[in-house]
C-alpha cells in the first residue's frame, strides 16, 4: 500500500459511518431482513389467491381469516394464555428480582444459575420435559377434561415457567439503579417496611415491571416449540395453528393472520423499549 488513499476533507479515519461500503452493506442487510416480512404483509392485501402476483388491494383475506373459526379460536387461545401467563410471570419475576437484589444468602450463585436455566437450555428440552411431567403426573389428563379456558392451564404453566426468569432479569436491572438511601430515608421518616415498599420501591420498579410484562407477553404470544409439546390434542394456539397451515402450503389468509400478530408484537416491543430506555432525569 504505497499510494495511501487520501481522506476526504472533514472526514476522520474512524468516521466509518460515512463509508460507502458500510452504507451499502447496511442497506442490503436490512433489505434481506425486512423484504420477506414486508412482502408477507403486502401480500396479505392481495386479491390473488395464489399470492404470487399482485392483482389488487383487498381486505378479503382479513375477512376470511376472521371468519375462519379455528384460526380465531387459536388466536383467542394465544391471547388468553399470554394475558394470564404475563400476570403470573410478572409477579414471580418481580419477587425473584427483589430477592436477588435485596439479600445475600448462602449458595446465591447457584440459585442465580438455576434461575437462568430456563433461559439458556434449548427450548425443545424444556418442552419435552414439561410434556413428560404433565403426562406422568396426570396433569395433562386433568386439564384436557376441563372446560375452556381452564383447559389451557398446562400451556399457561409452561409459559409462566419460561417467561418469569426473563422478567426477573429485566426488573433486576432496573432495581440496580435504585438508590437505597431513599429506602433508608423512608424508614427514617417513620414508614414501615411494607409502606416503604409500596410507596418508594414499587413506584421505582414500575417501568421495569411494565417492560418485563410486555416482554413476557410477546414471549408467550410468540412461543411455538414449548406450546407444541405441552398442548393437549384439542387446544391449539396461534403459532401452532400457523405451523399446521404452513405445512400444507402458503395462503393469503396466513399472511393476514400473521400480519395481525406482527402488529401486536411490534407495538408491544416498541412500547417496552420506550419504557426500558433509562429516563434521563432520574440519575442517582
Amino acid at each position: 500500500m504505497r499510494s495511501a488513499a487520501k481522506l476526504k476533507p472533514g472526514q476522520g479515519p474512524l468516521d466509518y459511518g460515512n463509508r460507502t461500503w458500510l452504507k451499502v452493506l447496511f442497506v442490503s442487510i436490512f433489505f434481506i431482513l425486512y423484504a420477506p416480512i414486508l412482502t408477507l404483509i403486502a401480500f396479505s392485501f392481495n386479491t390473488d389467491r395464489r399470492g404470487i402476483v399482485w392483482r389488487g388491494f383487498t381486505f378479503d383475506n382479513y375477512v376470511k381469516a376472521w371468519n375462519n373459526d379455528s384460526l380465531i379460536e387459536a388466536l383467542t387461545n394465544s391471547l388468553v394464555i399470554a394475558f394470564v401467563a404475563t400476570i403470573f410471570a410478572t409477579i414471580l419475576g418481580a419477587l425473584a428480582a427483589l430477592l436477588l437484589w435485596r439479600f445475600r444468602f448462602p449458595m446465591k450463585g447457584g440459585y442465580e444459575g438455576f434461575m437462568a436455566l430456563p433461559i439458556v437450555i434449548p427450548e425443545i428440552c424444556m418442552g419435552v420435559a414439561l410434556l413428560l411431567f404433565f403426562v406422568n403426573s396426570g396433569m395433562m389428563g386433568f386439564f384436557v377434561s376441563m372446560p375452556w379456558p381452564l383447559n389451557l392451564g398446562n400451556i399457561i404453566i409452561a409459559h409462566v415457567t419460561f417467561c418469569f426468569p426473563f422478567v426477573a432479569v429485566v426488573v433486576r436491572s432496573r432495581l440496580v439503579g435504585f438508590n437505597r438511601q431513599l429506602e433508608e430515608a423512608s424508614r427514617d421518616l417513620g414508614a414501615s417496611e411494607w409502606q416503604t415498599f409500596w410507596s418508594v420501591i414499587l413506584p421505582y420498579m414500575k417501568p421495569g415491571l411494565i417492560a418485563g410484562a410486555l416482554l413476557a407477553f410477546t414471549l408467550s404470544l410468540d412461543d411455538f416449540v414449548i406450546t407444541f409439546f405441552t398442548s393437549g390434542p384439542e387446544t391449539v394456539t396461534f403459532p401452532v395453528k400457523v405451523y399446521s397451515l404452513v405445512r400444507r402450503g402458503v395462503s393469503p389468509e396466513i399472511n393476514a393472520a400473521s400480519t395481525v400478530l406482527i402488529v401486536i408484537t411490534v407495538v408491544a416491543t416498541v412500547l417496552a423499549m420506550k419504557l426500558q430506555a433509562p429516563p434521563k432525569a432520574d440519575k442517582g
Binding site: 479515519p13 414471580l92 435485596r102
Partner: protein, 290 residues
Amino acid sequence: MDNWKQNPRVFWTLGLPPSIWLLLFFIIPLGFLFVMSFSDKAVIDGQISINEYDYLTGFSNYIRAVDPLYLTIMWKSIWISALATALCLVVAYPIAFGICFAPNRWKPLLLLLVVLPFWINLLIRTYALIAVFRTRGYVNEVLGLVGLGPFEMLYNDFAVIFGLVYVYMPFMVLPLYATIERLDKSFLEASLDLGASQFQTFLRVTVPLTMPGIISGVILVFIPCLGTFLTPELLGGANAIMIGNVIERQFKAANDWPFGAALSFLLMYATFGALALRYLFTLRSKGVGV
C-alpha cells in the same frame, strides 16, 4: 445488600413463590426426563407397551445414541450450527461496528431495526422465507421474468443455514454492539497513529479487544441453532435433519420417549459445554482487563 438472616420473613415471602414454581415446573420435569432417559419401554405379555415403562434399566438409550446414524445427525447439527454461527458473525460484526460509528441520532433507530425482527414470531419469519424462496415464490417469479429458473432453493442444507442466520442474527449483533460501543476509540486511533493500516488495526486491536462480545454472540447463536427443530423442519429437506427433529420425532411420531429423553440430555450437555467454554474464555480475558 442485606443478609437474609436480618429479615427472614421478607426473605421467605420473596423467595418461596418463585423457588417453588421453578422446582415444581422446571426442576422436577427435568428430573422426570432424566429418569426417563435411563428407562425402557415395558414389555407386557411379549408386546412392547405404548405407555408403560420399566424405570432405570440402564444406559441402553445412550448407547443407542452413539449409533453411527445418530452420530452423523449430531455431527451435522454441530456443523450446520457452527456454519450458521460463523456466517452470523461475519454479517453481524460490520453491522454492529457500523451502528457504533453511526451518528448518535441514528443509533436508536438502527438498533431497533436490527432487533425488531427478533420480536416477530419465529414461525412467521420462517414462513415469510418460504413464501419468498419456494419454487413458485417471489424470487423465482422475478428470475422467471428474465428467463432464469425456477430454482429449487428450499428443502436443502443451504436453506436451513440461511434460515438460521436470518432468524438468529439479532442475537449476534446485540452483544457485539455492546462491546464495540464500550471500546475506547482511542485504542483504534493509537493503532492508526502508530502506523498500522485500517486492516491491521482491525485484526490486532479491534478484534482482540472485542473478543468478549464475539464469544457471547457466538454462544448466544450457537446454542439455539443446535437445539432448533422448527427451521430444519420447515426449510430443510428430508435429509436436512438436525438433532432437534430427531427428539421431536421420538416424542411425537415414533413415540419412543426414553430415547428422546436421552437425546435431550445429550443436547443439554452440549449446551452446558458451550457455556463452560464461554466461562473459560471470560476467565482468560479477565487478564485483558476489558
